[in-house]
């Protein structure tokens, strides 16, 4: 019972784009762990993402056009603020993250950390070689541009305290928002930590059309370098 009441102010924000195949299952897994405050942001999906999320009886918001993961995360955070969140956890919609690990993030947030970053690089995860290189390059350029070193600058599994989500202002709409968060941590001197997370690279998540790819990585880097403040 005490555990349930402590979940009241925890909001799980899930940005989703064309995830009809796995989203329902992801929501049910999260709910099974006791988290009822789930906000799904349908980022202009062309499939049944919106209706499937609605059928799960969670808060679903819809972007009328596809704006990017960063934009969807920001919308989700704004929604969680309106609903009175004290802690916000962002969670990927493609079933790569394990909902059982949400409690590790909330534990760190309750210990006083402003931002908790889930890192795929701490545990011995079976990460494809190309993805590992992309993560390391992302880490290097994030450090080079913003001066903060983390072991996984591109992870979508993160937790934010009220102080963090009221200060952090995401300006970029696409994948570069991940590095932007790292910049904001340095800018506002937020107390952060990294925790190991497990990652499930399924055939589905690795072959999504709109997922991270080498070309998208180059575009992300270009946007960060040219357009970062």
């Amino acid at each position: 019972m005490r555990e349930q009441t402590s979940f009241i102010n925890i909001y799980i924000v899930i940005p989703a784009y064309n995830e009809e195949k796995v989203l329902g299952d992801v929501i049910r897994q999260i709910r099974k762990e006791g988290y009822k405050n789930i906000i799904v942001i349908d980022d202009g999906s062309e499939d049944k993402t919106f209706s499937l999320a609605k059928a799960e009886n969670v808060c679903v918001l819809r972007h009328i056009i596809n704006c990017g993961e960063g934009a969807a995360i920001k919308t989700g955070i704004e929604a969680a603020k309106i609903l009175g969140a004290k802690y916000i956890i962002t969670f990927d919609a493609d079933d790569q993250h394990d909902p059982k690990e949400i409690r590790f993030i909330t534990r760190k947030l309750k210990e006083g950390f402003d931002v908790v970053l889930g890192s795929r690089m701490i545990n011995k995860n079976k990460i494809p070689f190309s993805r590992k290189i992309a993560i390391k390059l992302g880490n290097f350029f994030t450090w080079f541009l913003f001066g903060v070193w983390v072991s996984d600058s591109q992870s979508g599994f993160r937790g934010y305290s009220e102080k963090a989500f009221s200060k952090i202002n995401i300006k970029n709409s696409h994948y570069e928002y991940s590095s932007e968060i790292i910049r904001e941590i340095g800018k506002y001197k937020l107390k952060y930590c990294e925790i190991p997370i497990n990652i499930r690279y399924t055939y589905y998540s690795m072959h999504k059309k709109h997922g991270q790819s080498f070309i998208n990585g180059i575009k992300t880097l270009a946007r960060l370098a040219v357009l970062s403040d």
């Binding site: 808060c59 972007h63 009328i64 990017g68 934009a71 919308t75 309106i82 609903l83």
Partner: protein, 126 residues
């Protein structure tokens, strides 16, 4: 003083004059989206094209003055600088437009949530 011109140079001069006159007409007839900046930029660029088209040897004098190489290199170099400046300007404009569109889309997405939350709070107060 006569400036010998070939057909190519004459075409460049006429084209430049056309753009300058066209821009002046639009500006003085106070058409929408005209500004002093656009007028100045257009006249600056096309007058430059006109002058170098009419007196190509001037490019050599400019390049010597600036310490650069051949005439054409000077013009190409200057052209690249101008093109890059314009490109960066466009990138900034497109990014601003994208941000504004995203903001509108977000407000639309949050509208229902905000209204429902306000109604619920009012019901609780009653």
């Amino acid at each position: 003083m006569t400036i010998p011109l070939n057909l190519f140079q004459a075409s460049i001069i006429l084209l430049s004059l056309y753009f300058i006159i066209d821009r002046l007409k639009k500006y003085f007839s106070k058409e929408r989206s005209q500004s002093l900046f656009k007028l100045t930029a257009t006249i600056g660029i096309w007058f430059g094209v006109l002058v170098f088209g009419a007196i190509p040897s001037l490019a050599r004098k400019v390049s010597l003055f600036l310490g650069l190489g051949e005439n054409l290199n000077t013009l190409i170099f200057l052209g690249f600088i101008i093109v890059f400046m314009i490109l960066f300007k466009f990138v900034g404009i497109f990014e601003n437009i994208e941000k504004n569109i995203t903001e509108i889309v977000r407000k639309e997405a949050l509208k229902g949530l905000f209204e429902n939350t306000t109604i619920n709070k009012q019901k609780t107060k009653k």
